[in-house]
């Protein structure tokens, strides 16, 4: 059975094979190691001239990639832990995402920054965070989140080869070993690609279920937990939910418009729970709820969100498990809302 990790690795290999302009730069990339999470394995052996293992210099790596992209290459940057993305924030915000617009529109910066995010591995406060919310409001930067519902390697390949703008590609660490598109036989899945996007939003409903009483929305690995909660809510509590999983986190639709798939689901359910692993305040879910509130001026019956507390993620297993939203948190929250 294929995993998300294998799919991402295949996506990188496909991009390298299909386009000579693709380069990979990052730390500890060389085989047999192949990157700290092994996503880049095999590339340095097959394409030794196009895989540049680097010093521990994230900011410069991002800037080097920006320069390569300006000059017609299509670099991929691997940031070993998403926590270290703060080190490239200036390059992302003041260079990479800006060049396209501030130089009057005649410059393209086709580059992808790939990075693992997330906790539940006991890595402690600086190696467990979900920081993508920091980059969701950066104009000019597309943020994609891998998930296990369809092939994230294909999404990565398209981001590298077909997107002429910069992409911040988020891979939750616990997704890596998840089987790809597995155990979906009980679900009916609808795909809807928002205008200007190429990552589809997936809407999951249980086959033969009655009309949904609530819409769950989550991305990345959290979508896996939400799907498990969706099943248990149906079978243990007879509460039927739809799950809406976006692949693109930014940009969102202009003018504060709500994603079409989410709007369609809420049209029926009128209840919304947004779940994320990042910290609560000013999180992704807050934006989703704000947009839902604007889209339904008559109001929803219930709207809420789950996120990690506004505190560093503890290293200790029981403390970390209590802090990060899990299936039990979702079950409890949904039962309060319906």
């Amino acid at each position: 059975m294929s995993t998300v990790l294998a799919a991402l690795n295949r996506g990188l290999h496909a991009a390298f094979e299909q386009d000579q302009r693709v380069y990979l730069i990052g730390e500890d990339l060389l085989d047999p190691y192949g990157g700290a999470f092994k996503v880049s394995q095999g590339l340095s052996t097959k394409y030794p001239d196009r895989v540049w293992t680097s010093p521990v210099s994230e900011a410069a790596l991002a800037g080097v990639a920006a320069g390569m992209a300006l000059r017609g290459l299509r670099p991929v940057v691997e940031i070993m832990f998403g926590d270290f993305s703060t080190l490239i924030a200036d390059q992302l915000i003041n260079s990479i995402a800006k060049f396209g617009a501030m130089y009057g529109g005649d410059v393209a910066v086709p580059l992808v920054v790939r990075t693992p995010m997330g906790g539940r591995r006991g890595y402690g406060p600086t190696h467990s965070q979900t920081l993508e919310k920091l980059y969701l409001g950066v104009p000019g930067l597309r943020v994609l989140a891998a998930h296990a519902l369809s092939d994230p390697g294909e999404l990565l390949r398209r981001a590298i080869l077909e997107d002429d703008g910069p992409v911040f590609f988020v891979e939750n660490k616990l997704l890596y070993l998840r089987p790809l598109a597995a155990e979906l036989q009980d679900f009916e899945i609808e795909q809807h690609t928002p205008p200007g996007a190429y990552a589809a939003t997936h809407t999951l409903r249980l086959k033969g279920a009655p009309s949904a009483a609530l819409t769950l929305t989550a991305y990345g690995y959290m979508a896996e937990l939400a799907r498990e909660a969706q099943l248990r809510l149906a079978f243990e509590h007879e509460i039927f939910c739809e799950l809406v999983v976006p692949g693109q986190l930014a940009p969102l639709l202009p003018g504060g418009e709500l994603d079409g798939a989410l709007a369609a689901s809420l049209e029926k359910s009128r209840r919304l729970l947004a779940v994320e692993e990042g910290s609560y305040t000013l999180g992704w879910g807050a934006e989703v709820l704000a947009r839902a509130a604007q889209a339904f001026p008559g109001g929803l019956k219930a709207a809420s969100r789950l996120a990690a507390p506004d505190a560093p993620i503890p290293a200790s297993r029981p403390l970390e498990e209590a802090a990060l939203p899990g299936v039990e948190h979702i079950l409890a929250a949904v039962q309060k809302m319906v």
Partner: protein
């Protein structure tokens, strides 16, 4: 011996920069321009002497003090005036403003030091494409406070990037004198990474031209990073009215270190006067055209 540089050409280019910048400073209080500016007066010999050696495909990265670099690169005066005015005909259609220019292979950005890795990446891309193009990046002494510059020097040396780092040391970062900002010396920073570095304390365009010529020749012969430190003087304020330096000292500096004054005696008076008159007319026309140009329309 290489042929003598075109002294009249150097003078003309420096005079164009001088008159452009003086026009900007004179007109700013009248409300013609919008935003901010950082003028290059006093440093004209650096951009002019260095970029005289640029090949057609070579790449230039510049900083907030970019007007002189842009003009020496061959950029259009009207488009630059228009960019500072926020006009549709500006270098970047009025989107970038004074510090954010892009035309052909010229790029500037206003975040100090942030251009260092981008320049290195550009040079590496050209090397990977086997294009023979080089990158030149202008940094000020102020940018040497930024950590990413040192990451970039390390990577440039490790990966053999064909890039020339030109440090224009004007001894002051906004209002902070170099003594309060920089420990150690500048060439030693490059030496630490094994990057060959030469240094010149001059405002003489011919000396700078010769020094840069040697750097370009070495860079084209042996691709890999090099550095040229040019000790120089900024005659004007950091931006518009923020010069806190002693006026008597500044008067002496302007007297001793004026690149125009240093080069002028090498030209015949009539030749110099002709150049000056032509440039005055050129700058005035460019300014008038930019003033008459339309503003961009905001999207509905």
């Amino acid at each position: 011996m290489p042929p003598m540089p075109d002294q009249a050409g150097l003078y003309r280019q420096m005079y164009r920069i001088r008159r452009f910048e003086q026009t900007v400073l004179d007109a700013f209080p009248k409300g013609v321009f919008y935003g901010t500016t950082h003028t290059y007066i006093g440093q004209e010999a650096n951009a002019t002497g260095v970029l005289a050696h640029l090949g057609a495909d070579d790449i230039v990265f510049s900083n907030h003090r970019c007007h002189g670099h842009f003009i020496a690169y061959g950029g259009d005066l009207r488009a630059l005036f228009a960019e500072l005015m926020g006009k549709a005909t500006g270098v970047c259609g009025g989107l970038g403003g004074s510090q954010h220019l892009h035309w052909r292979n010229f790029y500037s950005n206003g975040v100090l030091g942030s251009t260092a890795p981008v320049a290195v990446g550009s040079a590496l891309a050209e090397k990977a494409k086997d294009s023979q193009a080089l990158a030149v990046i202008f940094l000020g002494d102020g940018a040497l406070g930024e950590g990413v510059v040192y990451e970039s020097l390390n990577i440039a040396a490790l990966w053999g990037a064909p890039v020339l780092f030109v440090v224009e040391n004007n001894h002051i970062a906004q209002t902070t004198p170099i003594e309060l900002a920089l420990a150690g010396d500048i060439p030693a920073r490059f030496a630490a990474f094994g990057i060959p570095c030469s240094r010149l304390d001059s405002s003489d365009a011919l000396e700078i031209h010769a020094a840069a010529e040697a750097e370009f020749a070495a860079l084209r012969a042996t691709p890999g990073p090099r550095a040229l430190v040019l000790d120089t003087q900024r005659f004007g304020p950091h931006s518009k009215g923020d010069d806190t330096r002693d006026e008597a000292l500044m008067a002496r500096i302007r007297q001793q270190r004026d690149p125009l004054r240093l080069l002028a005696p090498r030209l015949a008076d009539t030749q110099r006067e002709t150049i000056e008159a032509e440039v005055e007319a050129e700058v005035a026309a460019a300014f008038a055209q930019a003033e008459a140009d339309p503003f961009p329309e905001a999207a509905a």
